[in-house]
C-alpha cells in the first residue's frame, strides 16, 4: 500500500472514499482485498467465482460508501457485502443444476493423495490445502463463521453482525465447525 495511506485509519479512508477520493478507495482495496478474496475463495468454488464475487463487493462498496454510516466497522461491512454476494451465488447453483457436491469420501481421498504426495512443495502449503479441502465439508454458514473468526480474526459480535445472527448462534456454529475440521484432519501426518 502507498506509504501515505498505510497508517490512515479505516474510517478516514471510508470517509474520503465516500467523498469521491479514488486514492482512498484504492487504499481500502489494497488493505482488505486479500482477506475478502481468501474468504470468498473458501466459500465458493474456483478462483473465477471468487474473483467475480470480490469484484461485485468492491463495486457495491464504491457505490454504497456515501450512505455508509459507520454503524459497524468498515471491515465488518465489507465482509457482510462479501457474505451476501457469495451466498447469492451459492443459491444460484441449485437452480442452474451445477452446484458442486463434495462427498465426504471424495474429500478424504483427496486429503490422502495430498498427504502422500512426495512432490508436495512444502508442509505448510500441503496443510493449507488440506484445510481448504476440509472446509468444503462445512455448510456455508458454519464455514463463514469459522473463516471470519479463526482466519480473519473478527470478534464474535462482528461475526454475528456479518451473518445477521446472535453471538450465541455463532458460538454454536464455531463449535460444530471446529469438531468437523479437527476430525477430518486428525489423520494428517
Amino acid at each position: 500500500m502507498d506509504a501515505e495511506r498505510a497508517g490512515v485509519p479505516d474510517d478516514v479512508l471510508a470517509r474520503r472514499a465516500a467523498l469521491g477520493d479514488r486514492d482512498a478507495f484504492a487504499g481500502i482495496v489494497e488493505r482488505h482485498g486479500p482477506s475478502l478474496l481468501r474468504c470468498a475463495g473458501n466459500l465458493l468454488h474456483g478462483p473465477d467465482q471468487a474473483e467475480d464475487c470480490v469484484q461485485d463487493v468492491f463495486l457495491a462498496a464504491w457505490r454504497g460508501l456515501p450512505s455508509f454510516r459507520g454503524d459497524s466497522s468498515l471491515r465488518t461491512w465489507l465482509f457482510t457485502l462479501t457474505r451476501h454476494a457469495a451466498f447469492a451465488r451459492l443459491r444460484r447453483w441449485p437452480a442452474a443444476g451445477s452446484r458442486p457436491f463434495i462427498p465426504v469420501e471424495e474429500v478424504q481421498d483427496r486429503l490422502r493423495d495430498l498427504r502422500e504426495d512426495p512432490e508436495r512443495s512444502s508442509v505448510e502449503s500441503a496443510l493449507r490445502q488440506a484445510l481448504e479441502l476440509a472446509l468444503q465439508l462445512l455448510p456455508p454458514r458454519q464455514r463463514t463463521a469459522w473463516l471470519l473468526r479463526e482466519v480473519e480474526g473478527l470478534s464474535y459480535e462482528e461475526v454475528a453482525s456479518v451473518l445477521g445472527t446472535t453471538t450465541t448462534a455463532v458460538r454454536g456454529l464455531l463449535e460444530r465447525s471446529r469438531t468437523t475440521l479437527a476430525t477430518t484432519l486428525e489423520d494428517w501426518r
Binding site: R16, L19, R38, E124, L131, V151, A182, E186
Partner: protein, 167 residues
C-alpha cells in the same frame, strides 16, 4: 495392538493449518487488484444533477463532481478536513445550498479555519456551477481531528453561515 486415538491430534493439526491459511495471500490477488482499481476508476456513482451556467448558457453537472471539487478545495485549506458534503437543489436542479461538515485539526483556531473553509468552498462552487445565483454555503465544524484525520474529540457543532462574501 491398536493405536489409541489421540483426540487432541486433530486440534493440533487444525491449529497449524489455520496458521498457514492466515499467512496465505490468495493466488492471483495482484491481477484481481489491478482489475478492481481499473473498474472503480471507470465506475460512476449515481448522484443528483446540478444545473450550472457559463457564458453560453446552462449546463448540468453531477452532484458527485461538485462534491469531489469541494473536497479537493477543503483539502488545500490548512488544518481542516471535510467529513461530509450535502447539496440541496431547488427548482430546475439549481443549486440552493451546500453544507460542508468539517473536522478541524487539534490546536487550530476554529473560527479562522471555518472561515477559510467557507472561502474555499464558495470558490469551488463558483468554479463548478458558474455564476453565483444565491447559493448558500454552510460550514459545520463537527469534529476535532489529529493530522491523519482521526477524531480527537467531537465539538459542539458550530456553523459558519451567511451571505456570500463580496467578490
Amino acid at each position: 495392538m491398536t493405536a489409541i486415538p489421540d483426540p487432541s491430534r486433530g486440534d493440533q493439526v487444525l491449529a497449524r493449518a489455520t496458521e498457514a491459511l492466515r499467512r496465505h495471500t490468495p493466488t492471483g490477488w495482484r491481477v484481481v487488484r489491478a482489475h478492481l482499481l481499473e473498474l472503480v476508476r471507470r465506475t460512476h456513482r449515481p448522484s443528483v444533477p446540478v444545473r450550472g451556467r457559463h457564458g453560453r448558457g446552462e449546463f448540468v453537472v453531477s452532484g458527485g463532481v461538485l462534491t469531489t471539487r469541494v473536497r479537493q478545495a477543503v483539502e488545500r485549506t490548512p488544518a481542516a478536513e471535510v467529513t461530509a458534503v450535502r447539496c440541496v437543489t431547488g427548482a430546475d436542479d439549481h443549486l440552493a445550498l451546500v453544507t460542508v461538515e468539517t473536522g478541524v485539526h487539534h490546536g487550530a483556531h476554529i473560527p479562522t479555519t471555518a472561515a477559510a473553509v467557507r472561502v474555499a468552498v464558495t470558490a469551488a462552487v463558483r468554479d463548478v456551477v458558474g455564476e453565483d445565483r444565491g447559493v448558500r454555503v454552510h460550514v459545520h465544524v463537527v469534529d476535532v481531528i489529529d493530522g491523519a484525520g482521526g477524531a480527537v474529540g467531537a465539538v459542539g457543532a458550530g456553523g459558519v453561515d451567511g451571505p456570500q462574501p463580496p467578490r
